[in-house]
Structures are given as structure tokens and as C-alpha cells.
């Protein structure tokens, strides 16, 4: 208690508890929200989100520093914490019960934002009917995966995340005792193949005959970018092999090292799932006589801990398992009439937090609002 008294009286805390800071922060957030919305037209959702909301500070017009939403929210959190300690707790009155609950709710709100910002991972699964998987893919991150040729029904894959920032770094793959360096990495690229008579022996290896990668400007919907890169495999005996890998290329490139075949592929980063998911059937329903979808649903078989069951995942009816939630996101048909279903996968341990904090804040608002409304009436009654 004494400690709290001391903290509360500390001049810094008093300054930080100023409501003027709150007003400025709310105004800045207001501006940032507007700016970040309009900027989405030009920059796309992801880039705008990074620049305006996830950043601590960014440069407007290239040179004017402007606080990002993350910084403002940090200041607001500190401000809120100080206010809660100095004003509300210290001078508690029943009249302020609503206000107190609102601000505790908001503190929890900021906490949940922090937790989710750091723990939530979004990925997806794209499955053909009857196919199954136990991994999900990232929308934007890429990995260089490698495995040794072995049993056809089972493979142990070793992978490192690769991006423009891993260029030059040595990535050590323990299963084959070799290292790989990224020579060049393009976040979005176009692949070209060379005709067979032009192919020289010194050209980097590629299983699909890709001979050239040309960087392209990254598109606004980041998940549509297809990365490509030039990689170099260093074998302990000193020899090196160059690989030209492209994200849309589904054929792994084999490299013979010490008489063993190792496969390499550049693919969207994979996340292991705690279950195996198999798509049994996909159905789309349309409003009669139109091409407007009424509902999509997938019947899937999930297997975990040796047990399996069938589940239907549809729009607004996701499957939740542990910290994972699987949503019906999209579907596709290929030229042969095969149906594909896409599920968005979200791993979020803090999922329940916003529910609690928003409920709490709303209750506080409701209590305060009703108390104020009836309070006004009482005063008036007293007057008359």
C-alpha cells in the first residue's frame, strides 16, 4: 500500500497521468486510423498496416517523423495505467464505478492487443478433395526446404526461412552436413526457361528448367507475390552447387551430395499442425438463378492422437482445436473439375482476451451511461 502511495505521489506518474496526454493520443490515433485507411488504396492493406499501425515511428513524406499507432498505444497504455492508479483507485467513489470498469477494460484491451500482436500466426491450407495435410502454409513468408530421398510415404523436411535479409547468411542443414547461402532473393519474381540447346553446364540447377529469374515490383496483395532466389549449396569437401529456385515451381530440385540425393524447394513457410486434416467433400450453394454464393462448406476428417472424426467447416462455422481455428476461406475448381477448398488457419493463444476486454469496457460504458442518465433525472426531481 505504501509503495502505491509513493508511486501515486511521484511527480512523473502525475505528469504521465495527465488527461491532456489522453486527448493528444486519441487525436493521433484518429488521424492515423484515417491516414492508414486512405493509404490502403495506394499501398495495400499489409503495407499500410505495417507503416501506420505496427510501427513505432514512420516518416511522412519521406522526412517528417510521425508516431506510429504502436507508439501511441504504448503512451496511451502508460497514461491509462498512471491515471488508473492516481485518480480512479485513489479517489474511488461509487459514482465512478462505470468509469473505473471502462478504463480497466481498456487496459485489458491494450494488453490483449499486445498479446495477439506477438503470438497470433495466420496461415492457410489449400486442399484438393480427398487430399490431406498436417502442415499449413504462410501467406507471405518463404522457406528453403530440403530432404533426403527416402521412403516414398514419409519424409523429414529441414527448412530455413529465407528472405531478402538472409542473403549472404550461412544456413546449416544438419541432415546432410552441408550449408546453404542465399545469393540473391527476390520477393516477387518472374521465371523464364531456356531452350535446351542454350543450357550451359555451369548454369544453376533447376528441376523444371527455369534458367532466369527476373525481379518484379511487389504487388499490393502480398500473398500474390511469388518469390525466387539463387542459392548456393556448400558441401564439406569444398565444392559448391548453385540452385535457381522459384516459389511457384512445384518440382523439387535434386542435388547429389556424397552419393545421396537431396531435394531442395522454395516454398511458403510451413507450420506444423497438431492434427491431420483431410478434405472429404466440398460443396458450394448458390442463390437460385445467380452466381452469388449462398454458402460454402467442407466436410473434413481430422485425426489427432490416433483418433479421427468428421467435421463440417462452413462460412461462419469454423473448427476450433486447441489454439488453432480453421475457417472456410475460399474454393477453386481446376480445369479437370477437381474441387479445392482453402482454409484459413489461425493460431492464437490470446483469442479470448478481446472478448473479455470488450465485454468489460461495454459494461462499464453501459453502467456509467445509465447512472449518468438516471443521476440527471434524480437531480432534476430534487430541484422540482
Amino acid at each position: 500500500m505504501k509503495v502505491i502511495q509513493q508511486i501515486v505521489k511521484h511527480p512523473w506518474v502525475k505528469t504521465l497521468a495527465s488527461v491532456k496526454i489522453t486527448v493528444v493520443c486519441l487525436f493521433l490515433l484518429f488521424i492515423l486510423t484515417f491516414w492508414g485507411t486512405v493509404a490502403q488504396v495506394e499501398q495495400g492493406l499489409y503495407a499500410a498496416q505495417e507503416r501506420f499501425f505496427a510501427s513505432l515511428i514512420f516518416l511522412a513524406k519521406g522526412f517528417i517523423p510521425f508516431p506510429g499507432a504502436q507508439l501511441v498505444l504504448w503512451v496511451l497504455a502508460v497514461n491509462l495505467l498512471c491515471v488508473t492508479m492516481t485518480r480512479f483507485v485513489h479517489y474511488f467513489k461509487v459514482r465512478y464505478a462505470g468509469i473505473l470498469i471502462i478504463h480497466f477494460g481498456l487496459l485489458l484491451y491494450l494488453l490483449s492487443a499486445f498479446v495477439i500482436f506477438h503470438v497470433a500466426v495466420e496461415s492457410n491450407i489449400h486442399l484438393k478433395e480427398k487430399a490431406g495435410t498436417n502442415v499449413s502454409s504462410s501467406y507471405m513468408l518463404w522457406e528453403l526446404a530440403s530432404w533426403q530421398q527416402g521412403a516414398p510415404d514419409r519424409r523429414t523436411v529441414h527448412a530455413y526461412d529465407v528472405s531478402a535479409s538472409t542473403v549472404g547468411r550461412h544456413l546449416k542443414y544438419s541432415h546432410g552436413n552441408f550449408t546453404v547461402t542465399t545469393q540473391q532473393f527476390y520477393p516477387n519474381a518472374q521465371a523464364y526457361s531456356a531452350s535446351s540447346d542454350h543450357q550451359s553446364k555451369s548454369a544453376p540447377l533447376n528441376a523444371s528448367g527455369i534458367a532466369l529469374l527476373q525481379p518484379k515490383e511487389a504487388v499490393l496483395e502480398r500473398e500474390k507475390n511469388i518469390a525466387g532466389g539463387l542459392f548456393e549449396v556448400h558441401v564439406p569437401d569444398g565444392s559448391t552447387v548453385s540452385l535457381l529456385l522459384y516459389g511457384a515451381d512445384t518440382r523439387p530440385t535434386p542435388v547429389k551430395i556424397k552419393g545421396k540425393n537431396y531435394y531442395f524447394i522454395l516454398q511458403h513457410k510451413k507450420y506444423p499442425l497438431p492434427l491431420t486434416l483431410q478434405l472429404l467433400d466440398f460443396r458450394a450453394q448458390f442463390h437460385p438463378g445467380t452466381e452469388t454464393a449462398k454458402s460454402y462448406e467442407s466436410t473434413v476428417k481430422i485425426t489427432h492422437d490416433g483418433a479421427s472424426r468428421e467435421v463440417v467447416i462452413s462460412m461462419n462455422n469454423p473448427l476450433t482445436y486447441k489454439d488453432y481455428t480453421f475457417f472456410q476461406a475460399s474454393y477453386a475448381l481446376d480445369a479437370f473439375g477437381n474441387e479445392y477448398s482453402t482454409f484459413a488457419v489461425v493460431k492464437n493463444a490470446g483469442r479470448f482476451l478481446p472478448y473479455v476486454s470488450s465485454l468489460m469496457t461495454f459494461l462499464g460504458l453501459g453502467i456509467h451511461f445509465l447512472m449518468a442518465a438516471f443521476g440527471v433525472r434524480n437531480k432534476k426531481d430534487k430541484r422540482t
Binding site: 488527461v19 485507411t37 492493406l45 454464393a293 462460412m315 481455428t325 483469442r351
Partner: protein, 640 residues
């Protein structure tokens, strides 16, 4: 779109043939007698835009789409539609094509009309040029089209739709292609001996006999064919050609007896199921309807409409009772003009308020309050009818947000009035209710407002609570904005301190309500998004819009605590708050990005800009006046 244009090109290439064939029905000076009552036919169910609706709604939305009006020549849309369907030539001179841009008429070589509405007759000679222009406009990517290009395509599609609709019942009109002079052949085919010119339908109904003839003819050499046999060959090849030409036409009024949920236009039904007795009897009934329409025989017309309707009910694959109940409710909704009555009553209440400023009479206050309360009735009935017809919560489309927000503002106004009894609530309700319903009416000019939803928006607890609370939040914030205007005007008009205090307290209360509801709505939206997409918050434009309202109101309340603003500042903030609401509500749709980018209308940008400028000018003027008064007061004080 391309498909439409290709189809039109295709139909147009037969246009010469078709118009020629159409002639016989209306040749010379014969005009249809028409019928008196459309009570029966307006109930006919049509599948359109994913929903089964009465023909009346179809007629209204089609005419609205063509001409921007729901009636033609002071007669309901259904009269015009039935005429177009049953006696197409009679509508050729009706000026129903609204062309908003005069330059289009000019480039088509048509004298521009004062009311911007043109008839098919006027457009017909320029159709080739029109098609060429629309085709080129269609080449321009949708986002880069300017107003004229978009208008070209819109009007051209309407003309195409008009031509299609005029062909829907072509099968029942006597045509040159089906002329039989040989009495023996007529009697063998079971056709009326006194008639020479027959319809596609009449000939098709004797298809069995024709088939027997054809089998005999096929066994003969071409040189041995008799005149009668040549006629038969002509008839059969014309039947074949016609059923090839008339495909994919609009007006799906024939349910497929085999497949639930599949409805076809009459021509497609003929091609698919003509061998079925049900289809034949339906087509016969349609043929009789057209005949009796021309004869002005109401009883036969109604009787055959009823027969057709009964057959339709049997084959619809749905609960016929429920279907008809819904259709009748929709007719009530269409004819009720509920929102019009609500608007008029709100307007009257406001006029009474203005009058009361000049001459205060004791009856004015109860009369105005009564108008608001009475106006709420049709308002609520219309919303309830929509909920029943569409079987979904009251707010799902942009149009519905307008009618719901106006409803919320009126309810808040009534509550304020009950609590304060100073005209304040009446002003809020009448201004808010009237203006927002006017915007709704403007928005409904795009066609049928009872729309189906895309999969992700389909009924869900979180979604419905989210949109209801968020729109209620919009409504409260708008009401607070109106109160802000009132407060500022009261300050300018030197109202007493007590009046100002009362308005200010109400303003704070309504603003608080707005904050609470918008916060609730935003969070329910978050919960829904989390349930549907796995993320509570995604910085989507519409989410951001709602957040901006919350941030703005929260900022106002904190600025008040910080003593940065006082009463006037709060009122100004509430007025500016309406701009934030307008931005969140439909301004973000202008960006046409994100998950909520539904319901984009081209006029929104101009409307929003006009509104924002109006508010800014209002605030500037009022603040200057208030400031002048303050400094004036300071100036006078020493001498007082």
C-alpha cells in the same frame, strides 16, 4: 458484361427478322384493348437476382432501372411491363430510357429531350452506333471508366433488356413465319380454319402431327414434295430457328418441375420441357392471357393468370402457401409507400416547429409530437415487412442502414421529447428522420432494394447484432450532431441559460449513447470477424471507420475533462462527428477496397463533398457570429 453485349449483338443480328415477325400482331391500326385490373398478374412469382418476387416488384425495379421512376404516365409500372411483354410495339414510343448525359443523345444523333427520357423509337435508328459506342466503352477497364462511358453501358444494357423483354412472349404472337393457307393442313393440325396466321405456340402444340408428316416427307425425294409438304417443312424449320434464336431471355416465371430452385423464362421452358403436359398447359394459359389482354377480356385474363399461377405453385418445389403469403406481403410493402408517409409526417412535424417559432399556438406542440409518433408507425411496419419477406435481420445492405438509422434517430428524438418536452426531440426526430429517409429514397433508385446476401454475410447472430448496434451508434451520433446544430443556433439566437443547459445535457447524453453503441457495434463486429476469419481486428476500412467514431467521441469527452473545450466546443465536436459518421458509413465505400466495399454508388462522392462543405460553412458562420457576440458583449460591458 461482354457476354451480354455478345448476346445483344447476336439478337440484334436477328433484329430485322424479329421486328418483322412482331408486326403481324400489331399490324395496321389495331391496338390492344388492355385490361382494367392487374390484381391477378402482379402476384405472379418471378425468380430474379436470387429471389422469388412478385411481378409487381420486377416491373417496378425494371422501370426504375430504365427511367428512374416507378410509374409511367401516372400508371403503375406493372401496366407498362405487361404492355411491353404482351404488346411490345405499343411501348415503342414510350419515353422510358433515362439518359443522364445529354452528350450521349447528341452523339447518337437524337434531338435531346427536356426530361432526358427517350423512347425506343427514337433510339432504334441509332442502335448500330449505340452498340459500337457501348462496345468501345466496355473495353475500358471498369475502374477507369468516366461518367459518360458508364452511362453509355448502363443505357445500352437497358435497351438490350428492353429488346429481350419484348421477345419473352414472342411465341404467342401470330407471325408471318407460321402462315398456313391450306385448309386441309389446318384441319389436320387441329388449327382454327378461319385463321391464316398462327403463333409459334399454336404450331408447336401440333408438333406430334408435324412429326408424322416429316417422317413421311423424309422418305420422299425433294422433287416429289407437294406444296403442303413444303409448307410443313417451312413450319418445322421456322420452329427450329425460332427456338434457337430466343434463348436466355429474362423473366424466369416457369419453375422446372424436375429441379427445385430452377426457374426458366418461357422460351427456355419451351425448349427444355415442351413435351411435358404441365409446360404445355402453362404456355397455353400464357397464350390465352395475351389474347384476352388484346381483347380487353378481364375475366378470361384473370382466369388464365390464376391457372398459370396454380401450375406454378404446384411446380415451385416450395411451400406454396408460404410463397404466396410472402408475395402478398411484398405487394403490400410495394403499394404501401410506408416510407413516403413516414417522411411526410416527419416533414409536417418540422414545418409545425418552424411555424411555432413565428406564431406559437398551443395545439402545435401536441400536433408535431403526434406527427412524429404517427410517422414511426409506417416506418416500423415497413422495416418489419422487410424482415418477414427476406427472413433476415433488419440491417444487411447499405439501403437498409439508411432506413434503420433514420428509425433510430426518430426513436431517440421521441425519448428526448418525452424527457425534456422542449421541442428538442421533435426537431431531432423530424430533421434526422426526414433527411436520412430522403437519402434512402435516392439510394433505392438503383432498383430492387430487397436484395439477397453473399455467403459471408448470410445470417449469423454476431453479424446481425453487430450491424444493428453499429447502425444504432451511427444514428445516435447523427442525433448528437443535430443537437449540436441546435445548441449552436440557440447560442446564436440568445436563448436563455436554462434552455442552453438542457440542450447541452441532452447532447452529452446522446453523444454518450453513440459512444456506447458504436463501441459495442465495433466490438461485436470484431467478435464476428474473429468467428468468421479468425482475426478480431484487421484494419479494414469499415472497421477503421467505426473506430474513428469511437476515438472522436472519446476524444471530445476527454478534451472536456482537460478543459480544452467547453459547451460550444462540444457542440462543434458533435457536428464534426456527423462528418466522421458519414465517412465511416459510406465514405469508406468510396475507396472501394476492403471487405465491406459493398454498395458503391457514383453519386456518393459528390453528395458527401457537398455535405462536408455545408457543415464547414455552417460551423464557420456560427462560430464567427458567436465570437462577434462575445467580443461585442465585452465591448459593451464597461458602459453597461
Amino acid at each position: 458484361m461482354m457476354r451480354w453485349i455478345c448476346l445483344l449483338m447476336f439478337v440484334l443480328s436477328f433484329h430485322g427478322v424479329v421486328i418483322a415477325q412482331q408486326k403481324p400482331a400489331t399490324e395496321g391500326v389495331i391496338h390492344p384493348q388492355e385490361i382494367e385490373s392487374y390484381r391477378m398478374i402482379e402476384r405472379l412469382p418471378v425468380l430474379d437476382n436470387g429471389r422469388i418476387k412478385p411481378l409487381d416488384t420486377y416491373a417496378r425495379s425494371t422501370l426504375l432501372q430504365f427511367s428512374g421512376r416507378q410509374s409511367y404516365n401516372r400508371k403503375p409500372a406493372i401496366v407498362w411491363l405487361v404492355r411491353l411483354l404482351f404488346a411490345p410495339d405499343e411501348t415503342k414510343s414510350s419515353k422510358i430510357f433515362l439518359i443522364n448525359h445529354p452528350s450521349i443523345a447528341r452523339s447518337l444523333g437524337i434531338a435531346s429531350e427536356p426530361h432526358r427520357r427517350y423512347s425506343f423509337q427514337q433510339l432504334e435508328p441509332a442502335l448500330d452506333k449505340f452498340s459500337e459506342l457501348a462496345h468501345s466503352a466496355n473495353e475500358v477497364p471498369e475502374k477507369e471508366r468516366d461518367v459518360v462511358e458508364a452511362e453509355l453501358i448502363r443505357v445500352f444494357n437497358n435497351v438490350r433488356m428492353y429488346i429481350d423483354l419484348s421477345h419473352v412472349f414472342q411465341f404467342a404472337f401470330p407471325a408471318k413465319d407460321f402462315v398456313i393457307t391450306d385448309p386441309a393442313l389446318k384441319s389436320q393440325l387441329g388449327l382454327a380454319p378461319e385463321q391464316e396466321k398462327f403463333s409459334f405456340l399454336e404450331i408447336a402444340l401440333s408438333a406430334d402431327q408435324l412429326k408424322t408428316f416429316m417422317e413421311a416427307i423424309q422418305r420422299k425425294d425433294q422433287s416429289q414434295w407437294s406444296t403442303q409438304e413444303r409448307t410443313v417443312i417451312d413450319l418445322v424449320s421456322n420452329l427450329f430457328q425460332w427456338s434457337g434464336v430466343y434463348q436466355n431471355l429474362p423473366l424466369n416465371i416457369v419453375p422446372d418441375p424436375g429441379q427445385a430452385g430452377v426457374w426458366r423464362s418461357p422460351w427456355d421452358a419451351i425448349r427444355q420441357d415442351f413435351q411435358k403436359d404441365q409446360t404445355r398447359s402453362k404456355m397455353k394459359a400464357l397464350g390465352k392471357m395475351i389474347e384476352s389482354y388484346w381483347d380487353g377480356d378481364q375475366i378470361t385474363f384473370d382466369l388464365n393468370t390464376k391457372l398459370f399461377l396454380e401450375e406454378t405453385k404446384k411446380n415451385s418445389g416450395m411451400n406454396a402457401e408460404k410463397l404466396m403469403k410472402h408475395l402478398d406481403l411484398e405487394l403490400t410493402y410495394n403499394k404501401g409507400d410506408f416510407f413516403l408517409y413516414a417522411k411526410i409526417l416527419y416533414l409536417v412535424a418540422f414545418i409545425l416547429f418552424l411555424l411555432s417559432l413565428a406564431v406559437e399556438k398551443s395545439w402545435m406542440y401536441p400536433a408535431a409530437f403526434g406527427c412524429i409518433a404517427l410517422g414511426l408507425f409506417p416506418h416500423v411496419i415497413a422495416i418489419a415487412l422487410r424482415v418477414i419477406i427476406l427472413e433476415r435481420p433488419p440491417v444487411s445492405s447499405l439501403y437498409e442502414t439508411f432506413i434503420f438509422v433514420s428509425f433510430v434517430i426518430v426513436v431517440i428524438g421521441v425519448l428526448i421529447e418525452v424527457a425534456t418536452r422542449r421541442w428538442l426531440g421533435i426537431v431531432t426526430a423530424s430533421v434526422g428522420g426526414f433527411i436520412v429517409l430522403m437519402i434512402a429514397a435516392k439510394y433505392s433508385a438503383e432498383g430492387d432494394t430487397l436484395k439477397m446476401l453473399i455467403a459471408v454475410l448470410n445470417s449469423n447472430f454476431w453479424l446481425s447484432t453487430h450491424v444493428i448496434s453499429i447502425t444504432a451508434g451511427y444514428g445516435s451520433a447523427c442525433a448528437a450532431g443535430i443537437l449540436g446544430h441546435v445548441y449552436l443556433l440557440q447560442v446564436v439566437c440568445n436563448k436563455g441559460k436554462e434552455v442552453l443547459q438542457s440542450t447541452y445535457r441532452t447532447l452529452l447524453g446522446v453523444l454518450g449513447l453513440g459512444l456506447t453503441l458504436t463501441f459495442l457495434g465495433t466490438n461485436l463486429g470484431g467478435i464476428w470477424a474473429d468467428q468468421s476469419w479468425g482475426r478480431f481486428w484487421g484494419w479494414d476500412p469499415k472497421e477503421n471507420g467505426a473506430l474513428m467514431i469511437v476515438l472522436w467521441i472519446a476524444m471530445l469527452f476527454h478534451a472536456k475533462i482537460a478543459l480544452w473545450i467547453k459547451e460550444t466546443g462540444m457542440a462543434v465536436g458533435a457536428v464534426l462527428g456527423t462528418i466522421v459518421v458519414v465517412w465511416a458509413w459510406f465514405g469508406v465505400n468510396l475507396l472501394s477496397i476492403g471487405l465491406h466495399s459493398y454498395g458503391f454508388t457514383s453519386g456518393v462522392a459528390t453528395g458527401t463533398a457537398v455535405y462536408v462543405s455545408f457543415e464547414l460553412i455552417f460551423l464557420l458562420t456560427v462560430l464567427i457570429l458567436i465570437n462577434r457576440k462575445k467580443s461585442g458583449a465585452k465591448f459593451i460591458k464597461p458602459y453597461a
